[in-house]
């Protein structure tokens, strides 16, 4: 039997993982910190904390895929996560003029020139990180305006144009050279100019998947989802049939069905191959679509488009029955059905397309997927000096991943330009500072607020359908914000244990409202997990284990799973062995390594 080792809390990963939202966020946004700032009405500061890591708080506050929310500890405590995403929007909506807090490009350039292909979130992030270092950055964009899919694929009723313009403007206004309506038709040509020290490809995954079935080309009423959304955006399409079928049930499908409603469709059905549990769309996007009376039909697989006299009249599907056996979906055929319709939108996925990258320039493509070979850490392709990020690197994901990959690519580009090893990634750092203000006072609100999650108020249906650009979500009111911020459990205020101070009085164990703590004999992790005050069954959540304590040789064990960070263990601790310490994760950015030796501590830490 191998006893558990003393948890290494000097490794930034340990406490970072306790902050579930920050750990789940690809860009590791410091969520609890900005929620506390919102609670104090410091919207500017909250916005800047956000922008540091995710660059587009206003945009993401409306459109993010929110990997943070399913991870939120509050879900495990009372069922619903903190409305992190919509609080982000609160900071963005209520901030004052923060222009002078946005990094600026220095007057003196560093002499290096970088070309970015595509003006989507990943390229913009690269520009955001490199401009302040003195780089001369040029963005090539095939369209007339910047933003990429954020602008042309996300409908304006979800993301108003002003928000896009403002946040992209902060970057472009640093002095980025924007070449609009300038598609790059040959990477070779671009490289051959030898004008640029490095090239970053952030051109996204711009091709919607096709569904070639009988009848596909016998009508002009079948559209590819992302192209259709783009045409709506540019005003090329302003109407659709009365009865519309959307094939596919991802987030693009949700944007399509809701757009169709605004173009005058009265009967909109979304067709799903599987059952709801397997839908790709985020649950909240499904709810928003259903609120607009969109019907979602399960267990249907397209067979053919039914076209009569050149007119689309319906679509035929195979029907299935579904049942779950041992966690697997078993589907059996159950006949056929034809659903009448006037238009069909295909939203079954996106693909990458690189017809403009020559295959003989030393930039390897994976033969199976026809995707460029890109290093997962450095984001450099096999051709030196050519980097990829966002959907262009590893296929369709989401905005927040594009941002994070932009940050990483910017680090690599900077290292490349100053001649440093790319694979030598800069480490993260942490600061731990006591929040103790007095005998039982802390510099954070440690009271557990039992408030339930605030519901976003939406614009009334007839009003929102009247125009494509009416934003559906009204944003939280002041009262809602005040309640929602208090739901955050402050997971970054860490329960920090100093082994040598513990006298094993049990006070922390007795007071803990959620039975996190145990003093027991050490053991193997699997065994230890069963021997705690409350069994630690969530294997994704770590156990903190102290060294052997001096009086009895037992260890202090904390199951991080349900801890509400109320600080009562520290309030009841007579010897200050438990302290509530604010954890700050320091992330490295291009040209700005994280301070790694900044452990500010009040009491002496023992191993």
């Amino acid at each position: 039997m191998v006893n558990m080792r003393r948890t290494d809390t000097n490794n930034p990963d340990y406490y970072h993982k306790v902050v579930d939202c920050q750990w789940a966020c690809p860009a590791h946004t410091n969520v609890p910190e900005y929620i506390r700032l919102i609670a104090q009405g410091r919207f500017d500061d909250a916005y800047i904390v956000n922008r540091e890591s995710n660059v587009f708080p206003g945009i993401l506050g409306r459109t993010c895929d929110r990997p943070c929310e399913p991870a939120c500890r509050r879900t495990r405590v009372d069922g619903k996560p903190v409305a992190i995403c919509r609080l982000k929007r609160v900071a963005a909506d209520h901030k004052s003029d923060i222009k002078d807090r946005i990094p600026k490009a220095p007057a003196k350039k560093n002499g290096k020139k970088i070309a970015l292909v595509g003006a989507g979130p990943s390229s913009l992030t690269v520009a955001n990180d490199l401009m302040p270092l003195g780089y001369d950055v040029t963005i090539y964009e095939k369209g007339p305006r910047p933003g990429g899919l954020m602008r042309i694929n996300i409908p304006a009723f979800r993301l108003p144009e002003e928000v896009l313009d403002e946040e992209i403007g902060y970057i472009v206004d640093m002095g980025v050279t924007m070449k609009y309506d300038t598609p790059v038709n040959s990477l070779k040509e671009l490289l051959d100019t030898k004008e640029y020290d490095a090239v970053f490809v952030g051109s996204g995954a711009p091709k919607g998947k096709e569904l070639v079935l009988p009848g596909r080309y016998d009508t002009d009423q079948v559209f590819i989802g992302i192209e259709w959304l783009e045409s709506i955006h540019f005003g090329h399409i302003d109407s659709v049939g009365k009865r519309v079928l959307i094939i596919g049930v991802g987030n693009t499908a949700m944007d399509c069905c809701r757009s169709a409603k605004r173009l005058g469709a009265t009967e909109v059905k979304v067709i799903a191959r599987k059952t709801r549990k397997y839908f790709k769309a985020s649950p909240w996007e499904l709810e928003d679509a259903e609120e607009e009376n969109v019907e979602i039909l399960e267990n249907l697989s397209p067979v053919q488009f039914v076209v009569e006299n050149g007119k689309l009249v319906g679509m035929e599907f195979d029907k299935f029955t579904s049942q779950e056996v041992d966690g697997k979906l078993i589907q059996e055929p159950a006949g056929r059905i034809t659903i009448p319709c006037d238009s069909v939108i295909l939203a079954i996925g996106q693909e990458n397309a690189f017809p403009w990258i020559e295959r003989n320039i030393g930039l390897d493509f994976d033969p199976k997927w026809d995707m460029p070979v890109v290093d997962k850490d450095t984001f450099m392709s096999t051709r030196e000096g050519v980097f990829f990020g966002g959907d262009a690197a590893f296929g369709p994901a989401n905005i927040i991943w594009a941002v994070e990959q932009g940050h990483q690519a910017a680090i690599s580009i900077h290292k490349y330009c100053i001649g440093e090893s790319l694979s030598d990634r800069p480490p993260r750092g942490q600061t731990l500072a006591s929040t103790k203000m007095g005998l039982h006072e802390w510099s954070y609100s440690n009271y557990f607020d039992p408030a339930s999650r605030q519901k976003m108020v939406h614009v009334d249906l007839p009003v929102r359908f009247s125009k494509m650009t009416i934003e559906v979500e009204k944003g939280f009111t002041e009262e809602q914000t005040a309640l929602e911020v208090q739901r955050c459990l402050n997971c970054d205020i860490e329960t920090h244990f100093t082994d040598s101070l513990c006298i094993e009085c049990d006070a922390c164990i007795d007071i803990c409202p959620v039975d996190c703590l145990t003093l027991t004999e050490n053991g193997e992790e699997a065994d230890l997990r069963t021997r705690l005050t409350a069994p630690a069954l969530n294997m994704e959540q770590a156990l903190f284990v102290s060294s052997e304590l001096k009086q009895t040789g037992r260890v202090m064990v904390k199951d991080e799973n349900i801890c509400i960070h109320c600080g009562l263990c520290a309030e009841r601790c007579p010897t200050y062995a438990w302290d509530m310490r604010k954890f700050a994760l320091h992330l490295p950015y291009a040209g700005r390594p994280a301070p790694v030796e900044t452990v500010a501590q009040v009491a002496q830490v023992t191993s």
Binding site: H440, I503, C505, D506, A534, Q551, C566, R572, P574
Partner: protein
């Protein structure tokens, strides 16, 4: 203490007992004792013991006198009856309450000052009468509320926080109780719930006076070098002579013991206590031997702990006095007050 009330939120695995109540339902008000006080741990053990025994809080009376220890009944069983008496007078209140309502489950919490100084005489007579009460003496060897003077249980030669040496011999609650004929005598430590909880449960099921001394360090005034009631001193010097395992009436006995190593004692209500001897030649059913053994430990500088003596054959106060077999409150008025004729008849007996 802490200023923040313990949040209502709980761990999803928190189990209900047979009554559908969770451990949290047996809690009381927020403790105002010092952080790390042994008394708070005893409170947690009491909560656990009542919860596990499926006792309805409204059937319980919690009684206390004055002192840090005597504040603690406020911190458990918020739905139980309670009486906070004059200093040292809790045994009298318990005696009266037990006489009036023999169905009450009574728990008295006292301290070394309340029990061994001002209330020593009261304690002695409650033991003598065998009042049906779980009596917990939270012993920290110091007057914490008045800032750290030696109490009657402070050991000879131990020092105060400021270094003053105690020149008086202590009064030991356990040997005192044995001497006075208590039918249930135990000693435990606030820092050892595994030992304490089964003892409390057995004490609650005992028919008669259950005396449980719990060494309960005072973190503020008596947890220093030179103290004999500190966490570290107690851990170094306590020896468990008998390990008690309380088995409630409805549970099957699943623990396996080596033959001959365990003594089973049938409790009044049908539950069972398994007493596993840790020290050889210790017999928790022989008062004289137990007394001698504990005295011997004392002279060796050791603190004997465990369920030290038990006798389930004694008659408790209401049996001794032939009290009517019901709570007085449940008797019809005509029985409680049978009228002047009956009074005259009664008086005749004393003429």
């Amino acid at each position: 203490m802490s200023y923040l009330a313990k949040p209502k939120v709980h761990h999803p695995s928190l189990k209900p007992n047979a009554l559908g109540l969770t451990r949290r339902d047996y809690e009381g008000a927020l403790s105002t004792l010092c952080a790390g006080c042994g008394h708070d741990s005893i409170t947690a053990a009491i909560i656990h013991a009542f919860w596990e025994l499926d006792i309805e809080p409204y059937k319980v009376a919690k009684l206390s006198g004055i002192g840090c220890s005597s504040k603690t009944p406020a911190y458990f069983l918020r739905e139980a009856h309670g009486f906070n008496s004059v200093h040292g007078r809790m045994p009298s209140i318990a005696t009266g309450a037990g006489a009036a309502n023999r169905e009450l489950i009574m728990i008295g919490v006292s301290g070394d000052g309340d029990s061994l100084s001002i209330g020593l005489g009261q304690l002695c007579h409650a033991i003598r009468r065998n009042v049906n009460l779980l009596y917990i003496l939270e012993n920290n060897g110091v007057y914490g509320l008045t800032k750290g003077q030696f109490s009657a249980s402070a050991d000879f030669g131990s020092t105060s926080k400021k270094g003053e040496v105690n020149e008086m011999t202590p009064i030991d609650g356990v040997t005192l109780a044995l001497n006075l004929g208590a039918t249930f005598v135990a000693r435990s430590f606030s820092g050892d719930k595994e030992q304490l909880i089964p003892i409390l449960q057995a004490g609650l099921q005992h028919n008669g006076f259950a005396f449980v001394e719990v060494i309960s360090p005072c973190v503020t005034f008596n947890d220093h070098e030179g103290s004999t009631k500190s966490y570290s001193y107690t851990r170094e010097h306590m020896i468990e002579v008998v390990e008690a395992d309380f088995v409630p009436i409805r549970s099957e006995i699943t623990t396996q013991y080596e033959p001959g190593s365990v003594k089973r004692v049938q409790m009044h209500d049908g539950g069972m206590v398994n007493l596993r001897k840790v020290a050889e030649d210790y017999d928790p059913t022989d008062r004289d031997k137990a007394y001698a053994y504990i005295r011997n430990c004392q002279s060796e500088g050791e603190v004997a702990t465990g369920l030290l003596y038990i006798d389930e054959n004694g008659k408790d106060m209401v049996e001794q006095n032939d009290v009517v077999d019901a709570a007085l409150t449940n008797l019809p008025y005509s029985d409680l007050c049978p009228g002047s004729e009956a009074l005259a008849k009664l008086q005749l007996r004393f003429r």
